[in-house]
């Protein structure tokens, strides 16, 4: 792989291709930058801000920032780690997350991120919002108590499924995911086989009748922390 852009992340030399984002180039070089709204194959979005890095000293979202020659990226600094924790904690307190009862537990990227960042108790106060559950679809349940507004379902439906099942509605603290039918998600053309149904990083989009099939201790993030797949990647370029 002949990279044509050279830059550094925390002092390590990284090679990438023109047009890649910092997040993409870092991942290919075995460097994990924590992220939630970014998902392989989807348009970069930049909403969760967990991937915030410093680029030449200025904060930027690694998932949307294109790489350029000579760029100096800071990733694993104490300040950035604390900032990421604060953001992840914001996502926790903004919704209603009861990890021990959640079907997504052990597979949830938010939960796994909390563990990875060493979160014990959110520094922010819980908001305990009143959120709806949409069980109108025969095969898919939407539990908006868990939604972190990452828009992965919105993008996956459009970009991968060629549909338009989801979209943001309202704004500010009231912003939420709307579905393309007045009657609820059951009135849309969403199929349980759609990529959109797979795209949710948390326990908001849940496939019915398959929950809790894997015992605690054997679930995805019981094995290894989030990001370890990227970090275990043998990089093709030599690190400095």
């Amino acid at each position: 792989m002949g990279g044509n852009v050279s830059f550094t992340i925390d002092g390590k030399d990284v090679q990438g291709e023109q047009g890649q984002t910092i997040l993409q180039a870092a991942a290919l070089s075995g460097i994990y930058i924590p992220h939630l709204c970014a998902m392989k194959g989807l348009t970069p979005w930049g909403s969760c801000r967990v991937c915030t890095v410093l680029v030449n000293g200025r904060p930027q979202a690694a998932c949307t920032m294109p790489i350029s020659d000579g760029m100096v990226v800071e990733n694993e600094t104490a300040e950035l780690k604390d900032l990421r924790s604060s953001l992840v904690e914001m996502l926790f307190v903004e919704g209603n997350h009861y990890c021990m009862f959640c079907e997504k537990s052990g597979y949830c990227e938010l939960q796994a991120m909390g563990y990875r960042l060493g979160m014990l108790l959110p520094r922010h106060h819980y908001m305990f919002p009143d959120r709806k559950v949409d069980a109108s679809h025969p095969d898919v349940l939407l539990d908006f108590n868990r939604c972190i507004l990452c828009a992965r379902c919105i993008r996956a439906s459009v970009e991968m499924d060629g549909k338009h099942v989801f979209q943001f509605i309202q704004r500010g603290p009231h912003k939420r995911i709307g579905v393309n039918a007045e009657s609820g998600v059951g009135g849309t053309n969403l199929s349980v086989h759609d990529k959109a149904a797979e795209s949710c990083p948390v326990g908001c989009i849940i496939k019915k009748r398959v929950g809790f099939s894997v015992p605690v201790g054997q679930r995805k993030y019981d094995q290894k922390p989030i990001g370890s797949d990227i970090e275990s990647r043998q990089t093709v370029t030599k690190n400095g």
Binding site: C48, L83, S86, M90, L149, I169, G172, G178
Partner: protein, 609 residues
Amino acid sequence: MADNSDVNRQICGKFGNDKGRLMDILLSVQAESGCIASGALDDIAKSLSISRVEVESVATFYAFFSREQRGRFVIRLCNDIIDQIKGMDRIAAAIRAELGIDFGETTADGLFSLEYTPCIGMCDQAPALLINYKVVTRVSTDMVHEIVQTLRESKNVEQLKLTLGDGNNSHPLVRSMVVNNLREPGAVVFAPTTPGVALQRALSEQPVELIKIVKASRLRGRGGAGFPAGMKWEFTRAAVGERKFVVCNADEGEPGTFKDRVILTEAAGLMFEGMTIAGYAIGASEGIVYLRGEYAYLLQFLEEILSKRRAAGLLGRDILGKSGFKFDIRIQLGAGAYVCGEETALLSSCEGKAGDPKTRPPFPAQKGYLGMPTVINNVETFCAVARIIENGPGWFTSMGTQGSAGTKVFSVSGDCSSPGVYELPFGITVSDLLARVGATDTQAVQVGGAAGRMIGPAEFGRKLCYDDLATGGSVMVFGQQRDVLAIAHAFMAFFVEESCGYCTPCRVGTSLMFERLGRFLAGNADLADIDYLEKTGKSVKTASRCGLGQTAANPVLSTIQNFRKEYERRVKTNGSVFLSSFDPRRAVAVASGLAGRASEHFGTQKGGV
């Protein structure tokens, strides 16, 4: 509810069934039906060949759209901080009493709805309100009675007996009671000009020469961010695109800013001229003015100026005989969303989408409106451009400071005897400005609106310019009797509601800060809460995606910096190591109420919360 399908389809047809014109379509549907009903979402989606939820996304983003049926007259009382200190509560009580409804409600006869709205750009004549698009300023309780009576009887907002304002406010197409309060017209924006003079001169130059002139003038964007205008034009000219656009940001929503309103009223021709010059300079033939919904009362008047300019050969084809140069302008009306003043959110709105900012890079100069290279400048910036072309860059740089050439139009409001608009050379000190506006015994000045910073007397010697205290124009003056924390709290409430909600720090962080600041006002904050506010504020500033979020923590951060004693004196000092914000009696009272008996620990039942 009547089926309005035919009407909805006609409206879509009128806008060419173009999804890019969804804002206009929804504005028309809202005006026609008093709401955007469920059926309307389906009708519009079908006509535009888009999904229903896309229409819903836009219809639920903007404050002026409503899914529920609203009254024939929607009364929107401005609740910005200046209106609050100028008697908003008294007016609110009078309207409630007169209509017999609370805010957020509609009268049973379907005649009135009552709402609060953030700054409508009338701080120099507060308290103010909107009745649909009709502006009522300096509202008194007597006026409330008269207004409601008149509307009940005539059912016509034009029947209101309102004294017309000065200048073009009394123009037949405006007929508004708004006054200009133009206290000090300066040499650039408010000087007398002749339409076409600057444009004629511009067309005698090569486009690249024009950009050189603008660069030489060191003109920086007047909206607040201060990006060099010439450089922005150069990037846009150099960018590749089959079409290019010139967009004017007339969405001044920053609390305490109203200078663009006066420019639009008295110098709109100059602004259009500047846009046309920009079009020639960058190679664009289309311009858009994004006019905030609150200023819709100026729409017909502005349209007429455009028509006159077309008739005079200042817009259209072969402008002023310059073969091959064509340029025209359309006005896009907003619908109540502060975030649309952010340039990429503004572009989203122009494209008929919810006002979420776009990912940057790419910047608008590379990929802007419809993905094409776009110049976006403020109303005042375009006016300055026309004057610079007319008089040369040397004339412009002879005013102001090295880093901030020219004049700045300030909007001053609050505790002063002469609130209004002042066009002054950059570099004037805060204390000089305070003397001009008749402010005595000033405790604090908010420079740059809610997104700006609050300073105390120790900093009144600082200069208003990009290199020192930058402002897009808003200067709010607060006397000794005001509570700076209550002011900061009002600003945070504003940001909570006006965040687009796209990114985590701004959507969640502003709410968290608003709540935590409230603890100081309620008297149950800990000393550690100051630290919490600083740290969370820093996270919001660092991690937010756009300018709104990056400045949303400023009300708290700048008051902690400059008025820390106001925080410290309110900290609860009960000597307890426990969380002072937690009141166990109050918490137990809920359970007590449910159980129907008093707490074992706290004795007598306090009767719930």
